[in-house]
Amino acid sequence: MHLRVKALESILVEKGLVDSAALDAIVEHYAEDVGPKNGAQVVARAWTDAAFRQRLLKDATSAVAEFGFTGAQGEHVVAVENSAQVHNLVVCTLCSCYPWPLLGLPPVWYKSNAYRSRAVIDPRGVLREFGVELDERVEIRVWDSTAEVRYLVIPQRPAGTAGLGEGELAARVTRNGMVGTALL
């Protein structure tokens, strides 16, 4: 693939259709600047600031824009909250829709045929493979991202974190926790 991709890039650059420096910048933007640390800040704020949590649940698009987390694949955001009774799980069965400004580009498992196909019919089984064993009474709400609305799961705050500040809490929030395939 390496050689074929290189050949295509040189064709596009020679033809004046793309600029190599722009490609470098795009790669760097998503490899370095945008990632799950963004979403983790939002979750930590929701855990510590009740007014922010209300804004986030009511209009997540505006609430995450307060952090400057805007852009492609994050035009419309809905935040869904896990509790002792409800667990949320996000998938895109048709392709790989994912909230880029909050979580960066999706991991391979999220884009895999196995996850895309099974998350909607056997979410409990999928979660078990991620090591998440939920009580059988817990309601599982699956969100299939079929439009330009992106879902952010607010995980339950881990026990024993009462004394932690927002930054320390954010460090406890994982990417999988914000997709719903991990508990914290």
């Binding site: 693939m1 074929r4 596009l12 793309v18 580009l105 019919i121 409990r124 991202s145 439009a147």
Partner: protein, 216 residues
Amino acid sequence: MNGVHDMGGMTNLGPLEREENEPVFHAPWEGRVFAMTIASPTRVNLDYGRHQRELIPGPEYLPMTYYERWFRSLSDALVRRGFVSPEELQSGRAAARSAEAAPRSAGEIIAGLSARGSYVRERAAAPLFAVGARVRARNINPTGHTRLPRYVRGHVGVVERCHGAHVFPDSNARLAGEDPQHLYSVRFAGKELWGEEADPTITVALDLWEPYLELA
């Protein structure tokens, strides 16, 4: 189109494989394919881009990795839209500079990727369904791009949220205009989708446009 990309509900597509500390790109070429797709003049709109990936024939699509799909659909779209000839792709050499040579700069692209955008559009007609309405996903089988997965067609769910009118992918993907339609979050019970044996604690919500729905 009823393609293999519409895979919700299948159960034999292989094991779930996870990787600890996964890098964003697994090889430099993946990043280049991603970036070329973003910067390419074929990126006319999101729905068109998605449709290009769906046009990869199913037997080839299934075993491809994610960025192999992106590479294939980018190459195909460049030829389809006349930016690159099949001969150029074959030889790996540009025959001539493109008449449309005007590559977007790094600054312009990054600003575009970071700006606050919206797919909400004006639509004169009021929404047909209110929150709480029971709606059936229509049993339709569009031959072009659609965001109505097969696994909900014919099934009844409840409108949970109205998102306003959004760009309609079925139209936008074939470059026939944005044709905004009201968009709803519709929740289906697991038992409704997967039968009486299904886990009663499961529900699945999808965002569906009005033309996909009828009152149940």
